[in-house]
Symmetry: C2
Subunit: 337 residues, 2 copies
C-alpha cells in the first residue's frame, strides 16, 4: 500500500522506450496519475492501443506534473530537459534515466537548471528496445542511481527517492555524476565492448557457422548485450569515452595476464588470477550488508546529509527508505559490512 | 517412448560430477539400467542418499555394460579410459564428456584404443560443480559433439548417436577432434577468459564495491562463468592452449578495433563494428536450417559416411536422427540454409 503522499503524485514520462516505458507501466500499475509522451508515431499508436494515457505533445504531457521522468536516446536528453523545464514550474522535479550522468549534469548546471533536475539512472534493462519490450517489473529490486548535488535541491532528491523506493522497490544509490560514470564504465559499458568483441570475432571467423552450432551457455551469456541496438551502445560509449577507455586498461591488463600465464603454461599463475575473478563473482552473488538509520534536519544545513549520501553510494551502499516529517528526514541505509 | 533397442542398453557413468551426474540422472529417468561410480567419498554418499545405483569400484561399475560415459576432470580422462577399457570387452562403447578432444583422441590412438572409444562433448553446463548441481534436463536440445574417425568403428558412432538422440533429445554434431577444439576455443573457452577479465578487473578496481552495487544484467551475464571452479577452467584452457591463444587474436583485434574507433570518436566505424556483432547475435537466436535425409550401407565402405558426417559438423549442422536396419543407416540432418 502506497503512502498517501506518494499516491497523489502526478507524474509524466517523456520518451517511453524500453526504460521510460517500463517506468510508466509500473507507475500506472501502482495507481498513480501518469501521462506519457513520445515523439515516435508508432509508439504513440501502440500506447493508444494499450489504453495508456498519452498527451498530444510534450507540453501537454508535463503541464502541472509533480515529477517528470526523461527517457529517450541519451543524446536527446539535454534538449528535452530544456523543453520540460520551460513547460513546468519550479515545484516540478525533473529526473532522467540516461546511462551517463556527467554530461547531462554539467548541461543542467550551465543552463541554470540544476535546481530543477536530479540526474538519475535506473540500473536495469535488456538488449531489446521500445515500448513493446517494456515491462512494469523491470526495476524490481534494481539499483537506481540519483545524483544529489550542492547546486540541486536536497528536497527534490528526498521526494524522488521516496517515490522510487515506494513504487519500484528499487535501491537508491546516491552518487556524484563523475563517480557514477567511472563505475558504470566497468559495470555496464565495457561488458558491451566484450560481448561485441566475442560476437564480432565469431562473425569474422572462418568457422562462424560451426561456432553457432556449438554455442552453449557461456557464449550465449557472453554475447547477450551484443544484441542491443548499435545506436544505443554507441551513444553510451561515446558519451562516456574517457572513463571507458581508462577502465578498459584494467580489463586489457587482466586479459594480458591470463594470456601470458596460459602461453607460459603457468598453471599456478592462471589459477591465482582466476581465483581473483571468482572471488569477485562470489561477492556479486552474496554481499554481506549492514543496515543503519541516519537522520538529518529537514531544514539543513545540507552539507552533512549530502556528504553521507555521496559516501554511501561510492562505498557500494544504498538506501531502502526515506521518510520526512516536519523536522527530520530519516534514511534507511545498507552498506557493505 | 524409447526404442526397444535403446531401452535395453546397460550403461555406466564413471565420474559423476556436474556433467557425468546429469547424464546419469537423465538415463535413470528414461528407465535405462545405469550404474555410477565416482572416486569422491562425498559424491558416493550423496548418491546413496539419493537412491542412485552406484558400484563399490570402477571395475564393478563398468562390468558387462554396453556403453560407458567417462566424466570427471579433463586431466583424469586418459587414465580412466585405460582402466575402463581393461575392465570391459570389445562390444562395449566408451565415450567421454571432456571439453577438449584432440588430446584424448590422440591418447586413444597411441594406446590402441581408438576402436573402443568415441570422443564426445555435450555442449551444456553451468558454473556450478558436483553431483549435487547435476540436473537431468541439462542436455535437452543441446549440441553434443561426437568424433567419428577412420580408426574408430562407425557402428559405435551410430549406436551412441541413437542413444543420445533418443534419451537426451540432443543434437549430435559429428566433428574431427581438431576442428572441435578450434571451434570451442571461441565458443566456450574464450568466454571464460573474457568473463574472468571483467570480474578480475572489477576485483582490482579501487571502486570495486561501487561496481558490485551497480552491477546489472550486462555485468552479471558477462561474469557468470567466472564463477566456474578455477581448476576446471585452467584444465580446459591449458589443454586447448594453442587454439585458445590463436582464436584470442581474433577477439583482441575486434576489441582493438572498437577501442580505436571510440578513441577517435568515429561513430560510423563504431556502429559498423557493433552491427557486425549484432548480426552474429541475431544468427545465434535464429538460424534458418535445412532438413535432409542421408542413407549409407551399414556394411560400408565407411568413407562416404564419415565424410558426410565430418562436413556436416564443420558446416554448423547436426543430426537429429540415426536409424539402422540390417542393410542401411539413415540419418536425419539439419544444416545452415
Amino acid at each position: 500500500m502506497l503512502d498517501t503522499g506518494v499516491r497523489g503524485t502526478r507524474v509524466a514520462v517523456v520518451g517511453t522506450g524500453l526504460i521510460g516505458g517500463s517506468i510508466l507501466l509500473r507507475l500506472r500499475e501502482a495507481g498513480l496519475d501518469v501521462c506519457g509522451w513520445d515523439p515516435d508515431p508508432d509508439t504513440q499508436r501502440y500506447a493508444d492501443q494499450q489504453g495508456l494515457t498519452f498527451a498530444e505533445n510534450l507540453t501537454d504531457a508535463v503541464r502541472d506534473r509533480d515529477v517528470v521522468f526523461l527517457g529517450g536516446p541519451l543524446s536527446s536528453l539535454p534538449d528535452t530537459l530544456v523543453k520540460v523545464a520551460k513547460a513546468t514550474g519550479d515545484q516540478c522535479v525533473i529526473t532522467d534515466v540516461g546511462s551517463t550522468k556527467s554530461t547531462v549534469a554539467a548541461f543542467a548546471l550551465e543552463n541554470g537548471l540544476a535546481h530543477r533536475f536530479v540526474p538519475g539512472h535506473p540500473m536495469a534493462g535488456t538488449e531489446r528496445a521500445g515500448l513493446t519490450a517494456a515491462i512494469p517489473a523491470m526495476f524490481d529490486g534494481a539499483a537506481w542511481v540519483l545524483c544529489p548535488s550542492p547546486e540541486g535541491l536536497i528536497s527534490q532528491f528526498r521526494a524522488l527517492s521516496r517515490l522510487i523506493i515506494e513504487v519500484f522497490e528499487a535501491r537508491i544509490v546516491p552518487m556524484d555524476p563523475a563517480v557514477h560514470d567511472s563505475v558504470v564504465a566497468l559495470s555496464s559499458h565495457i561488458p558491451h565492448l566484450l560481448a561485441g568483441s566475442l560476437a564480432g570475432a565469431a562473425a569474422r571467423s572462418p568457422v562462424s557457422e560451426a561456432i553457432l552450432g556449438l554455442a552453449a551457455g557461456s557464449f550465449r551469456d557472453g554475447t547477450r548485450v551484443a544484441g542491443t541496438p548499435s545506436r544505443r551502445t554507441v551513444d553510451m560509449l561515446v558519451n562516456n569515452r574517457d572513463f571507458v577507455l581508462r577502465q578498459m586498461e584494467l580489463v586489457d591488463t587482466f586479459l594480458a595476464d591470463l594470456s601470458a600465464a596460459l602461453r607460459a603454461n603457468d598453471v599456478e599463475a592462471l589459477t591465482a588470477h582466476l581465483n581473483q575473478s571468482r572471488g569477485l563473482r562470489e561477492s556479486l552473488l552474496s554481499r554481506p550488508m549492514t543496515r543503519s538509520a541516519q537522520r538529518f534536519p529537514v531544514a539543513g544545513p545540507d552539507e552533512l546529509e549530502l556528504d553521507f549520501l555521496l559516501r554511501l553510494g561510492e562505498a557500494g551502499g544504498y538506501l531502502t527508505g526515506c521518510a520526512t516529517d516536519s523536522a527530520t528526514v530519516s534514511y534507511t541505509a545498507f552498506q557493505p559490512a
